[in-house]
Amino acid sequence: MSPLPIFSGTNSNHGAVVPISYQKLTSSSSSVVFSNIPQNYQDLWIMVVGTQSNVNRININFNGDTGNTSLYSTTVLSAFSGGYSSYAYTNSNYIFGGGLTNGWDSFYTASAEINILNYTTPSYYKNLISRFAGDKSSLNVNNGSTEASIGTWRSRSPITSVSIISGSGSWQPGTTLELYGIRGQGQ
């Protein structure tokens, strides 16, 4: 069975959510790149389900500017079994915050949903609005968190590639990453 619906590119009955790319890792990787992103959608929607080698942050980069994080910033709301916090990451490309955010092993995966609105417009900075959940069975401060974040890439360049980066380790085999386009008017 195909992991995603097959899309012909012309079927208007497909709806507004159109699968663009699907990757399932067969070996560990520090980052996963979606490149040559079509420019004919309103928004992008990325789903990540998997684990990292270390419990750490998730980072993002656009258009290959991996050495330049000064254009990124994020505000995070984090809830964990020991409490809740809000973080502001300035000049930083973190999507999600503190070291509690990622999956644990092949049985306890974490999931992240990342929305990138108006990713092609040359008129505005780009906004990300995201959610994350990673839990382990027992209630302990170190065993999971639920987070939401709002982020900005202070660039007006259309987004043509997205890198989803493991904070200080690597994405583990079996991790899946899906990229969808959200249709807007006339798309």
């Binding site: 502001a88 108006n118 505005y124 900075y125 959610r131 807007g184």
Partner: protein, 168 residues
């Protein structure tokens, strides 16, 4: 999910209305980005022309990067966006809101919205839940800025369909 309508604000406007909403979806979603005429204004939506001051119940959890604020209140609309209605002409704020069972006449209507804007140290994120104490089917949605106009914005209304697999 299917696009129902899209509206763009290019010049200053107090809001916009989605009318004649089809009744054959299960849920609705609105995705928007905008800048308000005044930074700090908030954004609401009301249904079927009901903008009575106590018609809606809202609960919010707000994160500022250093603090978390929790609140609940009655107000004239279901809240979509917190105080950060866009920062500049090139730096908008965004929200994604879901409205559940909008055509079901046996229940009051509920919505949620995840929203905010990040301005490199002065951002905020707010998660809203809201209810409209009314069982009427939602046929019209008006999005408006509370305390100011929109300078620009784009808003898409989507319908979320029932399952084509189960037919439910």
């Amino acid at each position: 999910m299917y696009l129902i309508a899209s509206q763009t604000i290019n010049t200053t406007a107090s809001g916009l209305t989605f009318s004649n909403i089809p009744q054959n979806f299960t849920h609705l979603q609105i995705r928007g980005f905008m800048q308000g005429s005044q930074f700090g204004n908030s954004t609401y939506m009301y249904f079927n022309s009901d903008n009575g001051s106590t018609s809606y119940y809202v609960h919010a959890i707000n994160a500022t990067g250093s603090a978390i604020n929790i609140n609940g209140y009655t107000i004239s609309g279901a809240q979509l966006m917190g105080y950060s209605n866009g920062y500049s002409a090139i730096h908008p704020s965004v929200f994604i809101a879901d409205i559940f069972d909008y055509s079901n006449t046996n229940k009051n209507k509920t919505s949620k919205s995840l929203s905010g804007g990040d301005y490199n140290g002065t951002g905020e994120l707010t998660y809203f839940g809201a209810s409209w104490a009314n069982t009427s089917a939602i046929q019209q949605i008006t999005v408006f800025g509370n305390g100011g106009n929109f300078s620009y914005g784009t808003f898409q209304l989507y319908g979320i369909a029932s399952s084509t697999v189960t037919g439910q």
